[in-house]
Symmetry: C2
Subunit: 139 residues, 2 copies
C-alpha cells in the first residue's frame, strides 16, 4: 500500500527482501532503517523464533492512520513500514521502519515515534516458538 510519502505492508515477505528493493534518493540526506529483530530468548527461555499473526484489515487501517498522523506531525519526511507475519526465526527482523529526511537530526526522532505508535496500536500478536516445539514452517 502506498502514498507519495508513506508506504506500508504486512505480509510474509522478509525484511531483507523488502529492503533489497528500496530505491535511493538524491534529496534526502538521511536514510534511517530500524530493524526489530527476533531474539533467541523469551522470558529467559530459548526460542527458535516467533510466529506472528495479525488481524489484516485492522493492522493495515491502523498503519494507514499512523502514517497520516505522522505526516501531519512531521511534514518533512518519507517513510516505509513493513511488518512480517508468520514464523520469523531468531536473528531475523520482523519489523522494518525506514525514514528519510532532508537533514539527519529529525530522522531519529521520527523513527522512534513510528516505532512507539506501531507498538502501541497495531494489532500483531506474537507466539514464541520454544526450542522443543516444532517450528511453524515459513511459507
Amino acid at each position: 500500500m502506498a502514498s507519495l510519502h508513506f508506504v506500508y505492508s504486512v505480509s510474509t515477505r522478509t525484511v531483507a527482501e523488502v529492503e533489497s528493493e528500496l530505491s535511493p534518493s538524491t534529496i534526502h540526506g538521511a536514510d534511517l532503517r530500524f530493524h526489530g529483530v527476533v531474539r533467541n530468548l523469551e522470558e529467559g527461555c530459548p526460542i527458535s523464533g516467533i510466529d506472528y499473526s495479525h488481524y489484516e484489515s485492522m493492522a493495515l487501517n491502523e498503519l494507514r492512520r499512523i502514517g497520516e498522523s505522522m505526516a501531519g506531525d512531521f511534514p518533512e519526511h518519507q517513510a516505509l513500514v513493513h511488518h512480517v507475519v508468520g514464523f520469523v526465526p531468531a536473528g531475523e527482523a520482523s519489523l522494518l521502519i525506514r525514514v528519510q529526511t532532508t537533514h539527519s537530526a529529525s530522522a531519529f526522532e521520527i523513527s522512534r515515534e513510528y516505532l512507539r505508535r506501531i507498538k502501541l496500536t497495531v494489532p500483531v500478536w506474537k507466539k514464541p516458538v520454544f526450542e522443543e516445539d516444532s517450528p511453524v514452517p515459513s511459507p
Copy 2:
C-alpha cells in the same frame, strides 16, 4: 579495525558493500542503521556527488576514541561505523552507523550521539563535484 563492541573503518568501500557483510544477531532486538546520503544539491547548486578526503591516522584515531567514550557512556550496545572516502555520487551513502541494542528505545539515542560526535571531530573533508565538472572516477 575491530573490538568486541565497536568496528570502524574509513575506506573507498561503499556502504552497500559493508552492509551486505553484516551478520545477524540473536541477542539484540534492535538493529538501527543510519545512512548519511549525498544529496544532489550543494547550497542550491546541482552536484553529481562529493569527493571525500581524510587524514587517515587522525580519522581512525578519532573514531577509536569515539568508540571508547561511547562504550563508557552507553555500555549496552554494539556499533559499526564506516565512512566512505573518494567520490560518492549523489543518492549513495557516504556514512553508515549501525547500532545494535537489546531493546529498541536506546538504539535511537545512541545512533544520534555517534552521528553528533563523528560530525564534530572526525577529520573528513567534503569537496562537492558540480555537474559541469568532470566527476573524480571512483576507484
